[in-house]
């Protein structure tokens, strides 16, 4: 395992790259991407001002045990400072040229102001990539484009101002603690025919141009816990052909979420051959023009232990996308608790 360092202010690509500072670090991220092998770690230092402006090609595969880590920092490696990165020519920031499993972990980058998407996947690419603490902002396209990016993992990521989708995944995508707002299309998009695996404590909000199509959703996942979805469509004509959250596949669980201000239904579950044992409970719905939950959602084998509660979630500052709730919210104190739902019977 080798640790490399990139410093766009002081570095030079003719250096060895194996320690920090002038005479040691590299200047470009692409130099690092073209050098790394499995197990390596690359620390990229934030520029004193502005953003890295380059396209870096990922050309090396790793494996489960030997993931390659690309980690931004501001003053000390490991400080989790965020590094700005753009591409002012027509290209991408990261171009994934390798196919199939990548096993890269990308931490602490802000991809911004690209004309299209900042990340591109070639055929059958983009699998097993993880983004931690990354921002996608004001890019012309979705967070990524190209081939279906299966098995993407996003943790504590933020997306806003996109000309496309805030976040885009293929099958088995997973989002934990991600916030997406004010994008032209869906805040959390799943490519056609694929299924997002998990959304946990995420917030997906509609932007000014969101939701003109019945097939555009705020989110879609198999297991969805503790998320907030608000379409910002309270001033639009109610429409019962729409629903802004969707779950499908066998055995989904939708628990402890808020679905608010959709012009259509707050949420819908699939029916048909994939409709097996859905679990919906402890969700809060509010002010959805078409209705709370689409009536097709619940079939004989679905478990809705309690009807969704309807009430005002009382977001702290919705206009500024602060969707935290206080103790007076209708959603406060109604989350799932461990143990039986009924009192213990007498011995």
């Amino acid at each position: 395992m080798t640790i490399y360092y990139v410093d766009g202010d002081l570095g030079d690509d003719i250096n060895a790259g194996t320690s920090e500072g002038a005479g040691n670090a590299w200047a470009t991220i692409n130099k690092a991407f073209s050098t790394v092998v499995a197990n390596d770690v690359v620390y990229v230092k934030a520029l004193a001002s502005g953003a890295y402006d380059e396209e870096a090609s990922l050309i090396t595969n790793a494996a489960f045990q030997t993931a390659i880590k690309i980690v931004g920092y501001s003053s000390t490696p490991g400080d989790n400072g965020i590094v700005r990165w753009t591409n002012t020519s027509a290209g991408y920031c990261i171009n994934h040229t390798v196919s199939f499993n990548h096993y890269y972990v990308i931490c602490n980058f802000c991809f911004e102001n690209t004309s299209g998407s900042p990340i591109f996947f070639t055929t059958n690419a983009g699998r097993q990539l993880a983004y931690f603490n990354c921002v996608f902002r004001n890019c012309g396209g979705s967070s990524n484009t190209g081939a279906n990016p299966n098995l993407l993992l996003h943790v504590n990521c933020l997306s806003y101002g996109s000309g496309g989708n805030g976040f885009r995944t293929g099958g088995q995508g997973r989002y934990y603690g991600c916030l997406s707002y004010n994008n032209a299309q869906s805040p959390f998009e799943v490519t056609t025919g694929d299924i997002c695996e998990v959304m946990y404590k995420c917030v997906g909000l509609g932007g000014p141009s969101f939701g003109t199509s019945a097939s555009v959703w705020l989110g879609e996942a198999k297991w969805t816990f503790g998320c907030t979805f608000d379409a910002f469509q309270e001033n639009e004509t109610p429409n019962t052909t729409q629903y802004v959250f969707y779950t499908q596949y066998e055995g989904p669980a939708v628990i402890d979420n808020i679905f608010a201000n959709s012009r259509g239904y707050g949420a819908r579950g699939i029916t048909g051959s994939w409709d097996i044992e859905k679990v919906w409970l402890n969700n809060l719905t509010y002010n959805n023009g078409g209705g709370a939950i689409h009536p097709d959602t619940f079939q004989a084998d679905d478990f809705m232990v309690a009807d969704p509660v309807e009430g005002d979630p009382s977001f702290t500052d919705r206009e500024n996308y602060d969707m935290t709730i206080g103790s007076t919210s209708a959603a406060a104190g109604v989350g799932m608790m461990p143990g039986l739902i009924t009192a213990e019977p007498a011995a």
Binding site: G81, I82, C107, C157, L158, V203, D301, G335, P338, G339
Partner: protein, 325 residues
């Protein structure tokens, strides 16, 4: 789809079973198990002993499952039915070794000589579901079902072996405590808002066994200092996410296997573990925002794992968005 009724106090198996009360309801669950077809619902009234070991043999289908629902006085009241069993073998068992689309709600399967519930082993027996059920103080384990089975708001405790066993298990809102072997065995794919505590003390047992892609959120895991190599969350755990949990008194709080591409520990509270997180192939984002300190459980000895406003676990959970400006 037919709705049937079982009432061990006033029913009789020669009745039609299609409405409640004397002259209408059946007497035994075992009789109902021989009569149901896909899509049926069977309401079972509490009060009688139900001193029978029941074998379920009709699998249902995904579109037309079979649902067994206990009640106290009115169907749908979610009152629990205590089934004492015959004292011979497993209280409930299912014989079908393929997908078995049956759901049991509001059953108490406790104090039996073997398992409270066991599904036929083999390749299938998948998609069983248990809601608001109790499995306690059975001679063997609490409940054992096949892949993709669901446990929702169940309790399994004081059993002579594993609390909950199943591969690709979905375990939500359950209490699994004080069992003689693993809290959960097999592989868990989703664990949300569970208490897994003080299971398998004195031997190499785990509170929860994960697998690639496992998600463990909002759980309280207490190993009770059980023994060397007795871990809180154990498994191969590639692309697993373990966050917003309280993990205490374990050998390794989280023990990773050899596949660990992206399985960091995030926003967990660790306390009094020999090792919080196994160091195998440490990652640059390990222990992201983890905290430590005594979680101040209300009554750990009495298995009350509630925390109060003074606990260091309060307000340390993951929040949407980046954690840096």
């Amino acid at each position: 789809m037919t709705t049937y009724y079982v009432d061990g106090a006033v029913g009789n198996d020669i009745n039609a079973g299609t409405s409640e009360g004397a002259g209408n309801a059946w007497e035994t669950i075992g009789h109902a198990a021989t009569q149901v077809t896909s899509g049926d619902i069977v309401y079972v009234k509490a009060g009688a002993a139900y001193a029978e070991d029941v074998s379920f043999t009709v699998p249902g289908t995904s579109a037309s499952p079979i649902t067994w629902i206990g009640y106290a006085t009115t169907p749908g009241d979610n009152g629990q039915v205590v089934v004492t069993g015959a004292g011979v073998t497993h209280i409930f068992s299912s014989t079908w070794s393929s997908s078995f689309y049956n759901t049991w709600m509001n059953f108490d399967l406790s104090n039996g000589p073997s398992w409270g519930f066991i599904a036929a082993t083999g390749s299938g027996a998948s998609f069983l579901a248990f809601i608001n059920c109790r499995f306690s103080n059975n001679g063997s384990g609490g409940v054992f079902a096949g892949p993709n089975s669901l446990w929702l708001n169940c309790e399994s405790y004081g059993n002579g072996s594993t609390g909950i066993q199943g591969n690709s298990a979905r375990i939500v809102g359950c209490k699994v405590q004080n069992n003689a072997a693993n809290g959960h065995a097999g592989s868990c794919i989703v664990s949300y808002r569970n208490v897994l505590a003080q299971n398998g003390i004195g031997a190499t047992n785990y509170q929860l066994i994960g697998v690639n892609g496992t998600s463990v959120f909002g759980c309280t895991i207490d190993g009770e200092g059980s023994s060397a190599a007795a871990d809180g969350v154990y498994g191969t755990l590639s692309q697993a996410l373990i966050m917003d949990n309280i993990i205490v008194n374990c050998d390794s709080g989280i023990e990773r296997g050899t596949q660990h591409s992206a399985n960091p520990s995030v926003n967990n509270l660790f306390h009094n573990n020999l090792i919080d997180l196994s160091t195998t192939s440490a990652l640059p984002y390990d222990n992201l925002n983890d905290v430590s300190g005594d979680p101040n459980f209300a009554d750990r000895v009495g298995f009350d794992y509630a925390i109060d406003a003074g606990s260091p676990a309060v307000d340390t959970g993951i929040r949407p968005g980046c954690f840096e400006a």
